[in-house]
Amino acid sequence: MLDVKQENNYLEMQSIVKRYVTTVVDHVDFSVHEGEIHCLVGENGAGKSTLIKILSGIVQADEGKIFIEGKYVKIDSPNTAHRLGISVISQELSLLNELTIGENVFLGVEPKNSIGLVNWREVHRETEKQIYQEFEVKLDSRKVVKNLSIANKQLVMITGALRWGSKILILDEPTARLSKEEIKRLFDIIKNFRKEGRAIIYISHHLEEVEEIGDRVTILRDGRRVITENLKNLTLTDISNYMIGKTKGTKLSSDKIISRNRTGKKKLLEVRGILNEKIKNVDFDVFEGEILAIAGVTGSGRSEIARAICGIDHRDKGEIKLMGKKLKIRKPVDAIKNGLIYVPEDRKTQGVFLKIPVFMNVLLNEKTLEDLSTLSFYFMHKFKSFASKFVKLLNIMTPSLDTPCSNLSGGNQQKVLLGKWLAMNPAVIILDEPTRGIDVGVKLEFYEIINKLAKKQNKGIILISSELPEIMKLADRILILKEGKFVEASFKEDLTQDELFNLIISKR
């Protein structure tokens, strides 16, 4: 790549590459003008957040150059990014909760009086003035941030970014937790920034928002830039097609079309009226041998449903019946004992025990150990023959049952982990992002296993996934979740992947 800069680009990223195990950002070019709102879209894992992390100095690019006003800059820390005038207003609000609004706004740039002490009067006066001038909102700057609404916290963050004199504002899913009116107000603010000549990068899952507010859009897929285009020249369908990587809506071939006729199929799980802060009155059923997918954007409450059902999060209301029997689930252990198992998303913290042999890892849960022991004595041969069933079922590649898990490949470790949950002999299994971060080959094996569990062993499976191909491949039925409510239910045969995608991202 040549170091030529284009005339009116305020920020220019050239041929950025970032590799972890795989290449997550692959020679991406990206630029923003002054007074422009440039949207960045892509599916989960397309490389948006990595690109933003590179820009804000949280991670460093392996290759590529960044220019600001035509000058080459090296962003090696968040501090440098700040000094260069780059601020991120992110989904997770980064404010110091126990401190006042004013202190948060002036964090790191506190005004001092003649004897070197912080001039609080100026801090609070300036903060209130600034917030009022920019947003026409009156806030008491001496109040602690903790008790503010999400929208007002966002204003505090933006004010702080302006205080740093940030010219480049990155808004990462800023509307995720706002109400309609609050979104409208935020958009007015953003448009105002455009008028002031700031360079704005806007990241969102909601394509309507992108269309409403953006000037240009860059679409990423699998770490590569697909297209950068003026939003006037694109329709919503175009954008979503570019995101998924198809030019025409083609139906995914499904290996077996499951009959919709459920005669003879028992209802395994009945969930009625689940209600808490994040889930709004959710009902659904899972049948024997069925794979039910729950789809939705990040923050729609996908995992929260599972957590509420399994007693990990609290429920205000709600009834759960398993095979017609009403369950009292207050703690996670209640769900496990009754045969309702949640395999969580974040397996890093729930990992296998590396130094312990494969067979013990499969058994390492209270329920299995209890079932297999005689008067609390453990017999190894019993354990091993039990574990070997799962090694076979899951096709775990291990030299022997006694091999420590640290000698296994990552994909096989994942299988061992799944084995641990299956060993509890659940009736219904909730899999949360079961294939996140594993290679394609092992992924396919996982799909086979999941299918086998449902179709051969007649288990009910709830699949929570952000990967649409995965849902299209596995699910019999798809529920689409938005802001803690189901908005759409559909059989897979009635949907193409594009339609599903559009349903997920369409209007709230």
Binding site: H82, S94, L96, L99, L107, G108, L117, V118
Partner: protein, 323 residues
């Protein structure tokens, strides 16, 4: 008009007690004490308490600042012992002023070592300072061959027994000066604010361009220096360099800081609350002694009161965050 100002006072005091409920505990405690033995709130008795309060109070100020960053310093007791021993050894050779300065510099270095291990190697402060608690005390014991050293030079006496303007005992002066400086530092100085900011969220502070490691090292240096100074005061009071004298403060200081409302996770609290905490603790001790409670029962009661008070504080926190 009068009614108005009365209302204002009511409102202000309500805000004050809401912010620092420990003073409410203090009032209740003194009320109960008065019921058992009216002498407890007499000026003479309170003067006795004040006599003992300076050293633990000064130590609690340092500890509060450490805790506000989310850390803890357990090594301060050993620093007291070591400082006392060293000052007694140096006194005949260097004279009073120089030996005090040397000991204070020693305190700074000790604190820097604590802070270095904590911020550089990311070891938990609890572990680092627990280790150094053993190390410094061990060194003090080795130097003295486990026997207390007697002060041979009367010039050290003035540090504890002197008076300002002939009437105010010097330990009070130290306490008041460090308290006032502490308040100004924590509330109005940029570095003091950094202490709170880091305690709230280290990562956000770091991303905002705050030099977290430096501030943390500084905080441990400050605390160790304060501890070394207290070591000199204690040596002066007892005319001894006792290599194990520091332990007795460990419980009071940590307990007072927690009672005062400073969160062990950092970011919230302050030394006004700590002042209340230390008064509650020492009054409680005093009450139990006045009422001839057996020393073993004393410990039981102390434990219960601390548990209940801290529980009350944390319940209040849960209540306010959900409401």
């Amino acid at each position: 008009m009068n009614k108005k100002s009365l209302n204002l006072i009511m409102k202000n005091s309500r805000d004050f007690f809401k912010e620092y409920p420990i003073f409410l505990v203090l009032i209740v405690l003194l009320g109960v004490g008065y019921f058992f033995d009216p002498i407890c709130i007499s000026i003479r008795n309170q003067k006795n308490i004040l006599h003992d309060i300076s050293v633990p109070f000064i130590l609690s100020i340092g500890q509060t600042i450490v805790m506000l960053t989310g850390g803890i310093d357990l090594s301060f007791g050993s620093v007291i012992s070591l400082a006392g021993v060293i000052v007694v050894i140096l006194l005949p050779k260097m004279g009073i002023l120089l030996s005090i300065i040397v000991v204070l510099i020693m305190g700074m270095v000790i604190g820097a070592i604590n802070g270095f291990f904590i911020s550089r190697f990311k070891i938990l402060p609890f572990i680092v300072t627990l280790s150094f608690m053993l190390i410094w005390e061990g060194i003090a014991l080795v130097i003295t061959r486990t026997q207390p050293l007697f002060v041979s030079n009367p010039s050290l006496n003035a540090v504890n027994y002197g008076f300002l303007l002939g009437i105010i005992p010097l330990p009070w002066v130290y306490g008041i000066i460090i308290f006032v400086l502490g308040i100004i530092f924590l509330h109005f100085h940029v570095i003091g604010r950094r202490v709170y900011q880091i305690g709230n969220d280290e990562e956000i502070a770091r991303i905002s361009g705050i030099k977290v490691s430096r501030i943390k090292i500084g905080v441990y240096m400050l605390n160790a220096t304060i501890s070394a100074f207290c070591g000199i005061v204690v040596a002066s009071r007892m005319s001894l360099g006792d290599p194990t004298v520091g332990y007795q403060f460990l419980f009071d200081v940590i307990a007072a800081t927690c009672l005062g409302g400073t969160l062990m996770s950092g970011g919230k609290g302050g030394i006004i609350g700590t002042l209340g905490g230390i008064f509650v603790l020492l009054n409680l001790k005093n009450l139990l002694i006045l009422n001839d409670v057996s020393i073993y029962i004393q410990d039981v009661i102390k434990g219960i009161i601390i548990l209940v008070s801290v529980m009350g504080l944390s319940m209040r926190k849960i209540g306010s965050s959900s409401g």
